[in-house]
Symmetry: C2
Subunit: 748 residues, 2 copies
């Protein structure tokens, strides 16, 4: 895979620790020490400034700008709705003046550098000594309970320095995005508060208060987009300063300056660093109680998976239907903050089995943006709704037409996610009131985008790109055909099963869904073509794939990776090389429809052609490898998933964390080693402890119960906090689990 | 085809005449009344200004700008060398003040409007009466003999007006391009002269002199980029003014202002309107003597084909190896002045048989830009040379990667053109000194871009777009495979036949051409895959074409055309609909390799799927239709070619003339009805007079002889100005033609 671990942090089960400053990893650390709380995210940049390369990033979920230089294409169907999550204000801005000299972080002048991030509190601490003058410590915290609230704490301890110090605390809206300034317009400067807006007319109000343990003098001033408060004091003893910060996003500019100030003041009155630290601690404790993953005998993966759990819950826990999960979460500008099909495909299973309310909210995001998807389908000369490849606001934000116009896995992923969610929650209310409307429009899209071949014996999708983005414009991509078929089929099933329901009838009428339409879909479903060889049991990724020129991927020099940067663009698209699972992807999604022999045949055929250039690829392969008994491969792939960012495997962690891969790490262990299968009529478990581990433990929620699964080589112990309403199957035997502990011998 | 004639000009065998002002056609007329002389081109805009929509365009061959907003893609192989022929100075600028009021053309205030363009002189005359005040006449002329020279003449005849008139003569560098100003920087204003440069550091110096038949007062001034000379006089009798203009392009900024002024003065000293009129007349007379096409019994096509001949020689006659033929010639901004593969494929045959020196210069353009093509091949991770889809300076200027990176017909067209040129001129000197070097690099490109299929039984091109641009990214496009094969084959033939020649040996050494490389090519040639069905004799356009979803193109509403503007972009690419000939294209190029039955089978299969959205499509179909005896279709298609612009069939003549279609019109009549075949070992003729015509006559040059072919329904008469060195075959019988007249009965 051309992936090499670059470990530089200490191994610790509950923390990230950087001991000594790793200058060459400065940007990677900035990403790794990011904090977020779904509402907002802050990269681990230096409060006091850093002269070398740094991405001072703060982001708010769904707060976006539009590119100024959109070139309106004269081709229909090429999106003109581009937008991206914009870098917001630096509200941790501090400048330190020793006497009158500006001090900024300089690796050559410091010692005893230490930085830590505590998964149990979300507190980030950074401390070091400056020459022999003083020690300084910065702490940072975002409140989980009150997401608009964050804190900064600074402690300065004099050593061989006694004298005057000035600190400039700022709110800086002059931040850069993609290296360019000028995104924000500041409307009001108040004392310790600024109100600014984007060109998309979204407001951000930032306000703060300070607490010092010493006397000081202060005055305010404003320059350009920077709101400054200057504090001066004599450093004789250790000085402690705390700043409580409120950030209010007002997406519709519906609030007045007074409203905003008032709201901020109300929050500030109640705020303190210590209080947030305690409430965060309580939150994380409850979270790990119900969701922790334990790996005994493998501290690296233990740290990796805990980091994943920590960043996952920070990024999204379903606070609002307006939020989604960007591929990089709230930790960088890469992928523009966009949510992809990853949300439904890799993240939703995690929430489904840890926080079903959050899973529902992820789906509600798609329901709330159904009109944008309808508009997009029209642009593509199709009916129904086509969900975007990349989006913050529901409109298609991908500026590469070859992806935006040819990839339909985001659309089928929504239908699949509804099916998967309803199957595992029996949330009929959701299905009937929201799900069905989406399903009708999705089915219509797949019906109208598909085409019959020349003699009308085969139906399918022409000119598409499946999940494997190395095959750009192909016909009868097996994944797209299968998922298109299942999307239509599920809609018809729901229609037929619930047609008596008044809300369903209302939707049918409102959408003008006709029997003719359904009859047509039935014919399309029946003729949907899946290229498949009975003899070899191999599904052909798309018509003609088998005959493509062969590349031995192991012969590709490691310096050629990532291929997008080193190969001529067109060259990527004309070989039998695979970027990420395509056939194997649907064998994961509809796992139980395929027998082991088929899965083995396809795994053995496709995996060796796969370069895993997508960070999401290893997990799916790990899960299938585990199922096929390829345990070493399974564990190896799992290592990429848990430590993707910690060890910077893809050499781009500096751009931000791979948030959706982090979700996939959960899926990896629970589906892969835990053997969870949620695509059938009964939930299945088949835990297996790889020989490399002593034991491991994971949790999942199911119909109101929390189920702790402790797995050793010989037995599994299931601990339930209440009786489970539904049967589940363990090693192919049905169990009716009750509160307490159930022990089962491991099947081999 | 959704193509409807919109005739509004008078029918005349030697002229364009617009009788009365056709306001709704103002922009179309601007294009039709364009003048050019290969060196420069001027649209037929109004000297005196026109308040409604107008494209004031003057262009110089090869003088370009680069887009300011090139977004550097991070994908390799996506061209960063974009450039376009930029609109230059309006040197016909005149503003007329009656007393002190500015007069500009106003359709409501004028009468007796008449505009004409004389194919025998290149003189454009426009006259009308303004209210009852005066009559005014504008004349315009570009010199063929001295391409830097042009003329403007104005005649004002008083009717009920006596009094002061002021004329402002200008050189305006404030011209707009794509509706935007600001492309030129004026460095010097002199009296009646300006020097300006582009951001690409190309200079343009414009200088003029005036002649009046009356006394006047004058003064100069400059505002912004406009250099003005104001003349005032009393209008009592008819006033005549002539302006002689010199435009000097200095592509390397190698000349000083003094040099330029001096050069311009030298030309101006000798210049006069009447002199240029006479020399133009002599030029065109000689041209028609040797190249005229006569169609008796079809005045519309007569006018159409003469207009084609006229614009063709104006646009290109091989004055310089640095010039090429833009798809719109020098008549508009559409297609950015770029030369396409049209130059070799549609234009070169015309020059080959009318002006072989010009044909050679077209090829020299490619030789002189071989290094740019080498650079492009490298960008595409290939060896050798890849010629650009669109260019002015040899670099790839097409900003759509899906064309620039997937279409290789420009590259194979160069190899074909060398083969075709050498075959019909025996210009071994060219082949050995220039052709072979290109051929080696082209063959290398086709060898390295091609791939073997999985089991290495087939060789061909994956992920390509053939001439039919409605099939974007396909494998084994029959055209690309065949032309790739022939390109390699021809190189090897030349290598093997001329390996003894020192220059060939030198080239082989310089290019490090090895026997291994040739052996590899031989294997590739042998395994080159052409999808073909022995039974039906049909070549499959690309692997999988036959099974594509079928569209009945006659069911597409006429309002959907052009499809690029009305269909979702991706929708165009997933049907069996064809934009322009692909299989039929190679049956035209290698016509004699296919038997009539094969040509018929393929024509009958492909033509009904073809919507002819390219203006070049009808001619090729006309030629094949004529060969197959589909004479009505042949004549119908021919009408589109000759009158494409005159009747604005494609509704976009306003953007400029379809210059390369104009070339195709010549090819159409000579190959189609004349039955010329130049792809075999002996030149063939098989003239046929369609029943709709009385007779027709065309000329062609061959090995130093001019051959006039007069065709009636019963006989053909060949008139030679000297003995023909080579035998030719007429109706499958070999002739050794001598000076004088040979009469042959028409075969049926």
């Amino acid at each position: 895979m051309g992936k090499i671990a670059q470990q530089y942090l200490e191994i610790h089960p509950w923390m990230l620790i950087e001991d000594g400053f790793h200058e060459s990893k400065a940007l990677v650390s900035e990403s790794l020490f990011s904090l977020s709380n779904e509402y907002m995210g802050v990269r681990g940049f230096f409060d006091e400034g850093y002269k070398k390369e740094s991405l001072i990033g703060t982001y708010f979920n769904g707060l976006y700008e539009v590119p100024k230089d959109i070139r309106r294409s004269h081709y229909k169907g090429i999106s003109d709705q581009l937008h991206y999550m914009v870098n917001a204000a630096n509200f941790f801005y501090v400048r330190i003046y020793i006497q009158d000299d500006l001090y900024t972080f300089n690796a050559k002048e410091i010692s005893n550098f230490k930085r830590s991030l505590d998964f149990k509190t979300g507190e980030m601490i950074r401390s070091y000594q400056v020459k022999d003058l003083f020690e300084i410590k910065f702490k940072r915290l975002l409140s989980i309970e009150t997401p608009v609230l964050s804190h900064q704490a600074i402690e300065i301890k004099p050593l061989n320095y006694q004298g005057q110090i000035s600190l400039q605390f700022g709110i800086d809206f002059g931040t850069e995005h993609w290296g360019k300034p000028g995104f924000w317009q500041v409307d009001h400067f108040l004392k310790q508060a600024s109100l600014a807006h984007t060109t998309t007319n979204q407001n951000l109000f930032v306000s703060y208060q300070l607490h010092l343990n010493t006397n000081y003098q202060s005055y305010s001033f404003y320059e350009h987009k920077l709101n400054l408060e200057i504090l001066s004091f004599n450093l004789t003893d250790t000085v402690q300063i705390e700043r409580d910060i409120i950030c209010l996003v007002d997406k519709n500019q519906s609030l007045s300056l007074d409203d905003l100030s008032h709201q901020a003041d109300k929050h500030l009155k109640l705020a303190s660093y210590q209080k947030t630290l305690s409430s965060n601690q309580a939150f994380y404790q409850a979270y790990y109680d119900q969701n922790d993953i334990l790996i005994e005998g493998d501290l690296k993966n233990q740290q990796g998976i805990r980091y994943c759990l920590f960043q996952l819950v920070n990024t999204y826990r379903g606070v609002s239907e307006e939020n989604n999960i960007g591929a990089k979460g709230l930790t960088g500008e890469a992928y523009s903050g966009h949510a992809f099909w990853d949300s439904e495909t890799y993240c939703l299973p995690v929430y489904l089995f840890t926080n079903p309310k959050a899973a529902r909210n992820l789906l509600m995001f798609r329901y709330n943006t159904l009109n944008q998807a309808r508009r997009r389908a029209k642009e593509l000369d199709c009916k129904g709704a086509c969900y975007p490849i990349a989006t913050l606001n529901g409109h298609e934000a991908c500026d590469l037409w070859q992806h935006a116009s040819l990839q339909f896995q985001p659309t089928s992923a929504v239908a699949y996610a509804i099916w998967h969610y309803v199957k595992n929650t029996k949330d009929d209310e959701f299905l009937i009131h929201y799900g069905f409307e989406m399903l009708v429009e999705i089915a219509r899209f797949f019906s109208s985008r598909g085409q019959y071949n020349y003699d009308k014996t085969k139906f399918g999708y022409y000119g598409v790109m499946g999940p494997d983005e190395f095959q750009m414009m192909v016909n009868h991509n097996c994944y797209t055909n299968l998922l298109g078929r299942e999307s239509m089929k599920y809609m018809i099933d729901v229609f037929e099963n619930y047609h008596y329901h008044p809300k369903i009838q209302e939707t049918v009428k409102a959408l003008d869904l006709s029997i003719d339409e359904i009859e047509l879909m039935k014919d399309q479903i029946q003729k949907m073509y899946l290229p498949y060889d009975e003899k070899t049991k191999i599904y052909e990724q798309h018509e003609g794939f088998h005959d493509l020129p062969h590349i031995d991927i192991h012969q590709i020099p490691v310096t050629d990776f990532p291929l997008y940067s080193h190969w001529s663009y067109d060259r990527i698209y004309r070989n039998d090389m695979i970027k990420q699972p395509d056939v194997l992807m649907f064998m994961f999604l509809y796992n139980q429809r395929f027998d082991l022999e088929t899965k083995k045949a396809n795994y053995d055929y496709y995996e060796p052609k796969t370069i895993h250039e997508s960070s999401l690829s290893p997990s799916i392969h790990s899960i299938l490898a585990a199922e096929l008994g390829y345990m070493k491969e399974a564990v190896d792939f799992f290592g990429f998933a848990t430590r993707m960012d910690l060890d910077d495997y893809n050499r781009n962690t500096k751009e931000g964390l791979h948030l959706t891969s982090i979700a996939a790490a959960w899926v990896n262990i629970v589906y892969g080693f835990g053997g969870l299968r949620s695509d059938g009529n009964i939930l299945k478990l088949a835990p297996y402890c790889p020989e490399y581990w002593t034991s491991y433990q994971f949790n999942f929620h199911y119909f109101g119960s929390n189920i702790k699964v402790f797995v050793t080589k010989h037995e599994i112990k299931l601990t339930l906090d209440r009786d489970l309403k539904e049967d589940i199957m363990i090693y192919n035997q049905t169990y009716h689990l009750e509160k307490g502990i159930t022990t089962i011998h491991v099947a081999h």
